[in-house]
Amino acid sequence: MTNSFAVAVAVARKDLIAEWRTRELVPALAQFVILALVIANFGFQIDSRNAPSIAPGVLWLALVFAGLVAFGRAFAAEREQASLEALMMTPASPVAIFAGKALAATLLLIGCEAVLLPALALFFGTPLSVQVVAAVLLATIGMAALGCLFAAMVARVRARELLLPLLTLPLWIPFIVAGGQAVQVAMGATGNYDQAMALLVDFDILFVVLTSLAARFVLDE
């Protein structure tokens, strides 16, 4: 058997190198996120009064769509090149391969968040505090685990662009609810920030564990 840790790192490294060479994902995702803000603005007629109540919703919508694209892309690319089968034909552990891909996708998504959060602060005048960043990052972990799991699953299925949101979104709801609450509180609404964060941590642990157990069945088929 090969060293699982080395495999995960190699897979993540390969994905990040490919992204760096082609610079496909991050710049466009970042601009896309800003555009989502612009569209949201037109849809909602935001003024300074209601911005703090709408900003969290927009944040989560943008994050959800950026995440769907980032995770979907991670496995779709392997599928298009038929390289997923080649990966699976090695003795490397499917869980390690999965972890590597999830790691790369998560780092890319965090790259987008590094654009999204300041943009949100700039355009909606909401505070960009440590609490907001912490809540978003915590939610990202669990969302990434789930998103990659289903992305791996749908990559081998027809109509993956469509099945992915369908499978992923329902299970992301806990993160959107808890994360949304945490961000709203951090932006000035009343509520219990610590409780929401604790919930996020619980869900993170639950889904990361479940995902690493399930990864084997999804990939090795």
């Binding site: 058997m1 090969t2 060293n3 080395a6 495999v7 190699a10 897979v11 390969k14 190198i17 490919a18 060479r21 082609t22 090149q81 038929a82 390289s83 997923l84 089968e85 080649a86 990966l87 699976m88 034909m89 090695t90 003795p91 490397a92 552990s93 391969i97 090795d220």
Partner: protein, 214 residues
């Protein structure tokens, strides 16, 4: 000693049967060519032998292990070249191989050797996506031998190779057990001691070299 022992391999795609009770026994070091018309089930059989697909029914033992259960263990010892090369277009030829070295758990020097063997050393740093069809096929062959597998499963590896393809394949197949699907009877005859001919998913006869000569 038989490296592959298959009994009654059958594969259905929905209501179409692609492979029907094929029996096989391949000895260590033997080279077997799988022949047959288009759609006769060669790819289906090879994918099963490479553990890339599972038969609908039938038993398959490879190197003494149950191929339907011990897939990961077997994959350390099997090299497979499929129809599609399955490379990463943004990574260079060398990087592609080095990446698969890590996944196979072998040293990266193997990548350099394999590249040289298939004659891609001059384009080692070119992105795989920009290689010509035959060069991509060579890269896929190089990848299949990185981990020095005992068993090689080659699905029409000659399809887009240049005129030195036969020598390249001979070099790659040396000292390995090989199952090779091809349409080129002359090539099969030159590289393999045995042939298995499929028709509509059924084996319609195996032959040893002498009988194959046209």
């Amino acid at each position: 000693m038989s490296i592959i022992v298959a009994n009654g391999l059958t594969h259905w795609f929905g209501k179409e049967v692609a492979l029907e009770s094929v029996d096989l026994a391949i000895d260590a070091g033997e080279h077997m060519a799988v022949l047959g018309e288009n759609g006769s089930g060669k790819t289906t059989l090879l994918r099963i032998l490479a553990t890339a697909a599972r038969p609908t029914s039938g038993r398959l033992e490879i190197m003494g292990l149950d191929a339907l259960r011990e897939r990961r263990r077997l994959r350390q010892r099997i090299g497979y070249v499929a129809h599609a090369p399955g490379l990463y277009p943004a990574l260079s030829a060398a990087e592609n191989l080095e990446f698969f070295c890590t996944l196979q758990g072998v040293s990266r020097t193997r990548a350099v050797e394999a590249l040289a063997l298939v004659g891609l050393a001059p384009v080692a740093s070119r992105p795989a996506g920009l290689l010509s069809r035959g060069m991509q096929q060579r890269l896929a062959i190089a990848r299949a031998i990185l981990h020095d597998p005992k068993l090689l499963v080659l699905d029409e590896p000659d399809a887009s190779l240049g005129s030195d393809g036969a020598e390249l394949l001979a070099a790659v197949m040396l000292d390995r057990t090989v199952v090779l699907a091809t349409h080129d009877h002359a090539l099969a005859n030159r590289l393999c001691q045995r042939t298995l001919t499929l028709r509509h998913g059924r084996s319609v006869g195996t032959a040893t070299r002498l009988h194959v000569v046209r």
